[in-house]
């Protein structure tokens, strides 16, 4: 017992000497089943820019952005060759849970959502790997597989549709930076929205 403690204690200063580890943020790989029942993984999109979008169709903040804003972003991004993965992480019985791919598709069609695909994550595996907190919660992953933007979709954290007009969209800004080969100017803004409906601990 005391021996292990000593080893741990000896290891600590080493970790402190390597600050770069904390700042480089490789996107964790994952696999999940999509709306068509196909198993997809992040690694299959290596070499492409990927956007992750956490969704809960019943959340007022998601509804705000699906008034047209989110669909527009999806179309513009995909036209630029970006892969857009919408992820539904609500646990069974919770708001935003899709019983199967068909249920998710029905919702997507009703909204005119156009992501590359929607992934079903009822076990919260992907959400846990990314520590997804809110819906929406956005991630932009560059071609090298690094997270270059994480957080809110825009800079006005409300559920009011009228605020979309004046908000600065942080995802499109990050995508523009990536496309131009620049460093992303704003790599993090605290995400806002409903809590991701994790299964009860």
């Amino acid at each position: 017992m005391s021996l292990t403690r000593r080893f741990v204690a000896a290891g600590l200063p080493l970790a402190a000497l390597a600050p770069s580890v904390a700042f480089a943020k490789p996107a964790p790989d994952f696999t999940a089943v999509d709306v068509d029942g196909k198993t997809r993984s992040l690694s299959e999109f290596r070499g492409k820019t990927v956007v992750l979008e956490w969704v809960n169709e019943g959340c007022p903040y998601v509804k705000k952005h699906y008034s047209g804003n989110m669909q527009g972003l999806q179309q513009a991004a995909r036209a630029d060759g970006v892969v857009w993965l919408t992820i539904a992480s609500s646990a069974p019985g919770k708001q935003g849970y899709f019983a199967d791919g068909a249920a998710a598709k029905t919702w997507m069609d009703s909204r005119g959502a156009k992501p590359t695909t929607l992934l079903l994550d009822p076990e919260n595996k992907v959400a846990t790997a990314y520590k997804a907190k809110t819906t929406p919660h956005m991630f932009v992953i560059d071609k090298a597989g690094q997270v270059v933007y994480e957080g809110a979709i825009d800079d006005i954290p409300t559920a009011k549709v009228e605020d979309l007009k004046t908000a600065k969209n942080l995802v499109s800004a990050a995508l523009a930076d990536v496309k131009a080969g620049r460093k992303v100017a704003t790599p993090f803004v605290t995400p806002y929205g409903c809590a991701v409906k994790y299964k009860d601990a």
Binding site: M1, L12, A15, A16, A22, F23, K25, G58, C59, P60, Y61, K94, Q95, N124, T128, K131, K133, T134, P157, T158, A159, K160, P187, F188, T190, P191, Y192, G193, C194, A195, V196, K197, Y198, K199, D200, A201
Partner: protein, 717 residues
């Protein structure tokens, strides 16, 4: 234009006349899950003056709204004011939020009813006599499992008055209380330092010194400085505390390290606004380990009042088996045997005993509550902390013993001697047996009882007294039951000479009890006072003997006035001498007590203090604290049986453990406070502090050697 003016004037007139100087809130708005309104602390506002107007929200059960930093998700409540020209609204005053856990996420939220005051300042040229309308557009997110954004448009009519406005009759005090409790800067010094992925937050200053820091928590204003959902580890120090939290985006996610980390430190003693700057945590913010275990779960009392009543009753029952009650057992036994074959008398006596127990318990409890309400740090058993009471009890026990030895009789001065106690004497006797049992024996706590008492003393008086009542009923139950179950006593032989022998034999445990009380007295008062008490004992015995002689002469038809007078005189003298002795008490100093050499291979103890515990814990040594008192027989038995053997001493040596004694024989606020920290109000209490500084472990009230050795070995790992 004219119409608008007319309406405004009318509004003002209606408001002023109907309310006679009170602020008039608009209708309460129910937005679905929340009822909202504006309420004012003052009934009016002076030109250029400032009053607090609060947003009051009644939130549907299980739903919550959000603090200024909502935590991992959610959105803070927002107010947009529409005020007359020249008027202004200040910052919202946010009460301390609660932690709302959702799976792996943590939000900072409000549940139930929340008032958020906002300072409103009137224009300097506001006209006295008019009434202004304040409008607030309030937006809030309310969540349970799902979230719903809701809003409300609220209004308040506020009269403009000359001079200082009076408090609003309905809301003045409520808003005042919210403002008083709201976190404010209190001159606390705070520094932060990043160590690996951990952010150390050291906070020191006035109100934190000696405060109960269990459950202390830092609510950050910025959502980016720490991981909301991660545990905040608490280490106490002489001047404050150090919280170790998981650093957030600004520190380890690639963000910009802030110049300040601001937020609210919430503790049981209060909540304060804290602004930390980068720096080295001071030594005064650490070194005393984690706070003691939360009191409620440690005592095992769950289920509120019903649980406490049940525990109290069972505790009272078990109390009959504790060594503490031994001194009075013989009295109970002798009294039982005396009337075993007169069922009616036994029942009356059983009830009298019950009444004696209940009355004494409630009287002691009432006194205890009253003294505590007065602010004194006393606990259960406080009566035995007074040398005067101990001396009185010692003399009383001596007289009871002499009575049982047949030296004199009670209540039979004229009727013959030796016919046994009269029925009248029997009832009063049973009552006082009950009273005496409680006074002498109940101060020790028994299993279950400790938790129930701890609960009782935090409750309103009526609830506390009902817990004590349950305890009394449990304590009296066995004797009363024996009296009422006919078969039990029938088994005893018919009355006869054997009873007199039994009674005289049972006198000796009573002599023992008297000696024990004298021993307690000696520890409380020192050798000089002891001499007083011993002399008083001889005088009392002499008086009792003379009184007995007088009874005998009277029974034989001879006058005995002189004997009786002398007897009473010596008794009076005994009481006087004893009282003088007790009042001249000079308790041995702590140093003298600790110098007491351990006898044989036993465990050497050191004197307890909170600082000593912290010091030993910091040095990585396991600690056993023995909260004890000379008047607690259970404590003495435990110390003899479980804490003085060679094996225990070896186990302590092997673990480099230290045995600390907290002696509560005399009143000691520090010990009373330490007991309270563990939810206790009496002794014995045995606490083991593990070597690594983890949560203290509480041992049972009845110890065995094996139990102590096992616990100390666990603590040393």
């Amino acid at each position: 234009m004219f119409l608008k003016k007319a309406v405004l004037a009318l509004q003002a007139l209606v408001a002023a006349s109907l309310l006679a100087g009170a602020a008039l809130a608009g209708p309460v708005v129910n937005s679905g899950h929340i009822e909202s309104e504006l309420v004012s602390q003052e009934a009016g506002i002076a030109p250029g003056g400032t009053v607090y107007v609060a947003l009051r929200q009644k939130i549907q059960e299980h739903w919550h709204t959000y603090w200024r930093n909502p935590g991992d998700a959610g959105e803070a409540t927002k107010i947009t004011w529409t005020l007359p020209a020249g008027w202004s609204a200040g910052d919202m005053v946010w009460p301390t939020p609660q932690k709302a856990r959702l799976g792996p996420l943590l939000d900072y939220a409000y549940e139930g009813e929340v008032l958020i005051p906002v300072p409103i300042t009137a224009a300097a040229n506001a006209q006295v006599g008019t009434t202004v309308s304040l409008t607030a557009d309030v937006f809030y997110l309310v969540c349970e499992q799902v979230c719903v954004p809701e809003e409300a448009k609220l209004t308040l009519m506020l009269p403009v008055v000359a001079g200082t406005p009076s408090a609003d009759p309905q809301w003045g005090k409520v808003v005042g209380d919210v403002l008083a409790k709201a976190p404010k800067p209190a001159g606390l010094k705070a520094v932060f330092k990043l160590e690996g992925e951990a952010l150390k937050l050291a906070i020191t200053g006035g109100p934190l010194k000696g405060a109960d820091l269990a459950g202390a928590y830092f609510f950050p204003y910025s959502p980016k400085v720490l991981e909301h959902s991660a545990e905040q580890a608490i280490e106490r120090g002489p001047e404050g505390l150090t919280l170790t939290v998981k650093a957030g985006y600004d520190f380890i996610g690639g963000g910009t390290v802030p110049a300040e980390v601001a937020g609210v430190l919430s503790t049981k003693a209060g909540a304060w606004e804290v602004t930390a700057t980068a720096g080295e945590p001071p030594a005064s913010a650490k070194g005393l380990g984690a706070p003691p275990a939360e009191t409620a779960p440690a005592t095992g009392v769950t289920g509120g009042l019903v649980g406490a009543l049940l525990f109290a009753f069972v505790g009272g029952l078990i109390l009959n088996l504790m060594p503490c009650v031994f001194p009075v057992l013989s009295m109970k036994a002798a009294s039982l045997a005396g009337h075993a074959h007169d069922a009616g008398k036994v029942r009356v006596q059983g009830l009298a005993f019950l009444v004696g127990v209940v009355a004494t318990f409630l009287a002691l409890a009432g006194l205890l509550l009253a003294v505590r309400a007065g602010g004194a740090a006393v606990g259960w058993g406080f009566q035995l902390q007074s040398p005067v009471v101990i001396a009185g009890l010692a003399l009383l026990m001596l007289l009871v013993a002499l009575n049982m030895s047949g030296v004199f009789e009670i209540g039979t001065s004229v009727q013959g001697v030796g016919t046994g106690a009269s029925s009248k004497g029997g009832v009063t006797g049973a009552f006082f047996t009950g009273a005496l049992a409680v006074v002498v024996a109940a101060p020790c706590t028994a299993p279950f009882m400790a938790g129930a008492l701890g609960y009782a003393l935090t409750q309103p008086t009526l609830v506390a007294l009902s817990v004590f009542l349950a305890l009394a009923l449990g304590f009296a139950a066995p004797f009363v039951l024996v009296a009422f179950i006919p078969g039990v006593l029938k088994r005893l032989p018919r009355p006869g000479a054997w009873m007199d022998v039994l009674k005289k034999g049972l006198a000796f445990p009573m002599y023992g009890a008297a000696l024990w009380l004298v021993w307690v007295f000696a520890q409380q008062s020192g050798p000089l006072s002891l001499a007083h008490l011993l002399a008083a004992g001889v005088l009392a015995a002499f008086g009792a003997w003379l009184y007995g002689l007088a009874q005998a002469s009277r029974a034989a038809g001879k006058p005995a006035l002189i004997s009786i007078l002398v007897a009473l005189l010596s008794l009076g003298l005994a009481i006087t001498v004893a009282t003088f002795g007790a009042l001249a008490a000079q308790p041995p100093t702590a140093a003298a007590t600790s110098a007491e050499a351990p006898s044989g291979p036993g465990l050497a103890s050191e004197v307890w203090s909170p600082e000593k515990v912290a010091e030993l814990q910091a040095a990585g040594q396991p600690v056993l604290v023995d909260f004890t008192a000379a008047w607690c027989v259970t404590c003495q038995v435990n110390e003899k049986i479980a804490l003085s053997g060679a094996k225990v001493a070896e186990a302590f040596k092997a673990q480099n453990a230290v045995y600390l004694k907290a002696d509560w024989t005399n009143r000691d606020p520090a010990i009373a406070k330490a007991l309270a920290d563990f939810g206790r109000v009496g002794v014995p209490l045995y606490v083991i502090y593990p070597k690594g500084g983890g949560q203290p472990v509480i041992l049972p009230q009845l110890l065995t050697e094996g139990m102590v050795i096992e616990a100390i070995e666990k603590a040393g790992v």
